[in-house]
């Protein structure tokens, strides 16, 4: 592809105030009405933006030395533990580290938000004391202006695209994709679609090491491809850093995911120079063209099956069609603030305050993202489930009592003629029924049964047993046909092995 302009020429136009810069949403419209050729000729730069929770984010802080000096060993900032495995007065505060008492309500992300907002932060550090750093503790307060450096450093930001999430279980689950209602009743997703930075430069032609970006309301840089960068599957990520002292609390916000953890919302925008017609075409991508998969987060496994392929146009419409139903869909990231990021960056360029930087090196296009290497396999339901003793709803309690004694079990599963799960009774239910001379099984059966699937990990079964205060989970297939049972006795036996 023949280039029609260079980054140097673009910067010259920025300095002269003759630049034509539009947001990625505007570019989509311009190409739609004027065509690629005209758009490429007219538009110099396309700005992108996103505002999502970026859990890999963190902050390097250098406090300077105290007198007498200290080599900090344990450091808490507003009660949130910072990582102290580096030099004497340097720390790294991760956004997902939670306050030990305030839990999900306050974590590293919130400390960063407070710092940017100019609030005073409490520093509480202890040390073992050395010949050169004799001090053993320090307690003080500081603001952002008091530290030498505060560098936001995010090893994995700006996912090229991300899955949408729903929940097929029969109870509410709390995840990093938010609160997911039972039986596929809501959908949450992340990312700004056609406004997303990497989506507009999917082959990383202009975004690379050294690219100058909008980060948290200040200026930042791309330092390389991010962790879990997966370019061959179009799941690219970038690693970025920026000076926190320039940033704005509007574009950096602490996040709370109930029963999951804390994080940090980060506003990130990247300018894409329209060097050729090919880039004009790529930046004209529309929400309809950006596909993603709807996954069932109720399945507690790494590989979650896709329920359907969707696109950002459907997601942004607020309703998603799934099996004849319309389910409410909304993002967990903020499209409204993502638009503000893209338009703020556009204004910076228009005002001549922001120049583009050519990358010194391209991001990897061949890197592969692998799963964790496991030396000892985890245990799943299918590895330990046993055949279950069953009965029919029409049998009387005495017959079931005899079966419990004969088979030496504590749980009997009620099934219909096709082997479909209808309920469960425990030895306690039956003992109570016999003592009260209650003959009808239908009066003592539990019909709302918490179940497990064969592919489910045992850790997930343990959570279910504890949550519902029960002692066994019938194992069923997707049609609720009974396959076996997992009991707490079997799980305790596993621990003994």
């Amino acid at each position: 592809m023949k280039n029609i302009r260079t980054v140097d020429q673009i910067n010259e136009k920025i300095s002269k105030g003759t630049i034509n810069v539009v947001t990625a949403e505007e570019m989509t419209e311009i190409v739609k009405s004027n065509g690629i050729e005209v758009a490429a000729k007219d538009v110099d730069i396309v700005t992108t933006g996103t505002f999502g929770a970026m859990c890999s984010s963190g902050l390097f802080l250098n406090f300077g030395h105290a007198d007498p000096p200290i080599k900090m060993d344990h450091v808490n900032l507003n009660g949130v533990e910072a990582y102290h495995g580096n030099a004497a007065v340097d720390v790294y505060l991760g956004v997902t580290k939670m306050h030990p008492e305030r839990n999900f309500d306050y974590g590293g992300g919130h400390v960063i938000e407070d710092l940017v907002a100019g609030k005073e932060i409490e520093l509480d550090a202890t040390a073992y004391g050395t010949d050169c750093y004799p001090r053993k503790s320090v307690k003080t307060t500081f603001t952002l202006q008091d530290v030498n450096q505060a560098i936001l450093c995010n090893p994995r930001n700006a996912y090229q695209r991300y899955n949408a999430a729903t929940n097929g279980r029969d109870d509410v689950i709390y995840t990093y994709m938010g609160k997911l209602l039972p039986n596929y009743s809501n959908v949450s997703y992340s990312g700004a679609g056609e406004l997303n930075p990497l989506t507009n430069d999917p082959d990383y032609e202009t975004i690379g090491v050294g690219t100058r970006i909008f980060l948290g309301g200040g200026i930042g840089y791309v330092t390389g491809h991010g962790t879990q960068h997966d370019p061959t599957n179009k799941f690219g990520t970038i690693m970025v850093q920026g000076d926190l002292k320039q940033m704005d609390p509007k574009f950096l916000r602490g996040a709370t995911y109930t029963n999951y953890g804390t994080s940090l919302y980060v506003g990130l925008g990247i300018p894409i120079p329209i060097l050729n017609e090919d880039l004009a075409k790529k930046t004209s991508i529309s929400d309809e063209e950006i596909k993603t998969n709807l996954l069932d987060y109720g399945i507690p496994r790494r590989g979650r099956p896709s329920l359907k392929e969707t696109d950002y146009a459907e997601l942004k419409s607020g309703k998603l069609k799934l099996k004849e139903r319309e389910i409410p869909a909304q993002p967990l990231s903020s499209l409204k603030i993502a638009r503000e990021v893209a338009s703020t960056l556009k204004k910076w360029i228009d005002d001549g305050k922001f120049l583009l930087a050519s990358p010194t090196q391209r991001l990897s296009v061949t890197e592969v993202c692998r799963p964790m290497k496991i030396t000892k396999e985890a245990v799943f339901v299918q590895n330990i489930m046993i055949p279950t003793v069953t009965c029919n709803i029409d049998e009387d309690t005495e017959t079931v009592a005899r079966r419990i004694i004969e088979k030496n079990v504590n749980h009997v599963v009620v099934v219909d003629d096709g082997g479909i799960l209808k309920g469960i009774v425990t030895s306690f239910d039956i003992t109570k029924a016999v003592a009260k001379k209650e003959e009808k099984l239908s009066n003592v059966v539990t019909r709302q049964v918490v179940t497990a699937s064969p592919e489910e990990p045992i850790d997930s079964c343990v959570r279910k047993l504890k949550k519902h205060d029960i002692s066994a989970l019938p194992v069923v297939d997707s049609e609720k046909k009974i396959l076996g049972i997992v009991t707490s006795e079997q799980i305790s036996r596993l621990l003994g092995e």
């Binding site: 938010g178 609160k179 949450s188 916000r253 709370t256």
Partner: protein
Amino acid sequence: MKARLRFDKEKTSEPIIASVILRTKAPINILRAQVDEGTGEVLIEVPDDKAESTISAFKQMGVDVHVGRFIELLREKCIDCGHCITVCPVDAISAQSDLTVEIDQNKCVDCGACVDACPTRAIKLSE
């Protein structure tokens, strides 16, 4: 108008709401009711023209009556992501054309489902 009624132990077994309806002729709509050991709490809706007489009738029968806004969206904390919209059982939350999230106080039943869904803790259920 919406009001929250608090019943103490003795009152939970009496047909108070029925008595108030008979006395005031107000069509009381029960939006939510919760009864624990010893206490009961009911969220009701009454037409504005019957509000005064209904409240005084409940007070005369010894019921604690609270009126006012219960659910509150803290504007300075909200990032307008819209996640709360998907968990609301009565469609009381919506996004405006500029994507600003709003709660319709008239539709809200004060259930609190959105409170723990909010990633910036921008929704408060005030007592």
